[in-house]
């Protein structure tokens, strides 16, 4: 008796799930076919995740009926996605290289990009810091496990530049010694943070903006002095193929406004 009842419930549940799935499918195709009149799609570097989410929420509050949808990933991935036909209204890159590449492929008008925020590098270590990394020169200590972003990711190439500058100041082999301690080259900066946060890596090099309130209590930061640091300038622009150019222009304005810039500053960025 119990089994039969159970069966019936299962069947009801199952039929309902199938209907819901079909309905979902319809909705998705409807969305894909004609994107909502007031939805702004922003492709942004993953380091911008927290700051832009807050900016987006404020923008929505100021523009009733408007919705901001984000796609966060490595800038190089976003550029690839756009080149392969993904549609978006605004592209925010973590470096000029990917923005230039987007201009090259005709996605963005040549003089459209504007630098809206700057970021700098910092060394992060787990809060308990069992490996005892306290200075930059500790990074060259043999046996240390360091995780970096892959050289194809903007933060990864900035990191290599910074290490090269340290080599000039400390010791010609500094950079190569540090690199010999690298155990993994991650595909985006948030993965570097995660691996240091979990204590699996002894140190990582990320943006100062990656030490967010959510991660700050599990990480310690070692500052990289200006002479070695690489200042990352983030350009953003509306895409030529944008379907929401008016709303997109408003969003660009808002990010550059005093209110927008103060949110970016709050999340560890410096403003241009």
């Amino acid at each position: 008796m119990i089994t039969r009842n159970c069966w019936r419930q299962c069947r009801v549940f199952f039929t309902r799930s199938v209907w819901q799935a079909l309905l979902c499918g319809l909705l998705i195709s409807a969305c894909a076919a004609s994107s909502d009149a007031q939805t702004l799609t922003v492709f942004a570097a993953s380091s911008l995740t927290d700051a832009l989410k807050e900016l987006g929420a404020q923008f929505e509050a100021q523009h009733p009926g408007a919705r901001v949808v984000f796609n966060f990933a490595g800038s190089q991935q976003l550029r690839q996605q756009l080149e392969q036909g993904a549609t978006a209204d605004v592209f925010a890159s973590a470096n000029a290289r990917e923005m230039d590449a987007a201009i090259q492929s005709g996605l963005v008008t040549a003089n459209a990009p504007q630098v809206f925020v700057k970021n700098r590098l910092a060394v992060i270590v787990p809060r308990d810091n069992r490996a005892g990394v306290t200075t930059l020169s500790d990074l060259a200590r043999p046996g240390l496990k360091i995780v970096l972003a892959a050289p194809g990711v903007p933060v990864g190439s900035y990191t290599l530049n910074a290490l090269a500058k340290m080599s000039l100041a400390y010791d010609a082999t500094f950079s190569s010694t540090v690199l010999s301690n690298v155990v993994s080259y991650e595909d985006n900066v948030k993965q570097v943070v995660a691996k240091v946060q979990l204590g699996e890596a002894d140190a990582g090099i990320v943006y100062t903006s990656d030490v967010t309130p959510a991660t700050a209590n599990q990480l310690s930061t070692i500052d990289i002095p200006d002479e070695f640091n690489v200042v990352a300038a983030y350009p953003f622009a509306q895409l030529k193929a944008a379907s929401q150019s008016a709303l997109g222009a408003d969003f660009v304005q808002f990010v550059l406004s005093a209110a927008g810039q103060s949110i970016l500053k709050k999340w560890g960025f410096s403003i241009p």
Binding site: Q76, G152, V183, E186, D187, K195, G199
Partner: protein
Amino acid sequence: MIRSRLGQAAIFIASSVLLLFLVLPLFVLLVRAIEADLLQQLTQPTVAQALRLSLQTSILSTLITVTLGTPLAYSLARRKVPARSAIETLLDLPIVLPPAVAGLALLLTFGRRGFFGPVLETLGLSLPFTTAAVVMAGIFVSAPFFIRSAQTGFASVSHHVEESASDLGANPWQVFQHVTLPLAGPALLSGAILSWARALGEFGATILFAGSFIGRTQTMPLAIYQALETDLGSAMAVAAILILISFFFLVLLRLITHGRIGHPLL
């Protein structure tokens, strides 16, 4: 008549739409990869290293799976195992879980700060970011495929044949070695190929637990992902190789399960 013809048309259209959807993208990828000079890409060191590492780690993880999985599958098929269905359900979990969950679970268990972290540390071992971690991730996600198939294989061997053998004076080990194992052989082999193919395609658990380092932990799927960001050509080349290798072994699998290779003794 018309209705049945309509019905047949509907069936034909529905089937070809799905078939095209499943096959066409892989075909397009292959063509694009060949256009992008597939053979020349193969000689690139990153591609060659990823290929070698992938083959080594997936073969090793399959060997370990078969060695440890055969006794387990045999017990599940033949012995009175307490809570058998609970064990079987748990064994199926890695098949349905997103690999990222597997990777996180492995990290929290075998990582430096994980469950076994202190024990491993006293032994001087550190697993994350090593080739061993790639093999472990492979075993974790692929072993269930082998165990399932081997268990079915053992269960299908008739008791009577085994009993006859032991009536003729064979000891239990001889019965297993000369009767049970050959009869279940095709199922074991097809299970091993399936689980090997799964280990070869493993991505999520590997990138979390083993990270990505050329020649050490960067397997083909990881190389595809990383190359996608800088060099579409080599990403397509590695992807095309994966498709070809997997296709070859799936064909082999069909031949085995249809009894054309390694046909049973009886």
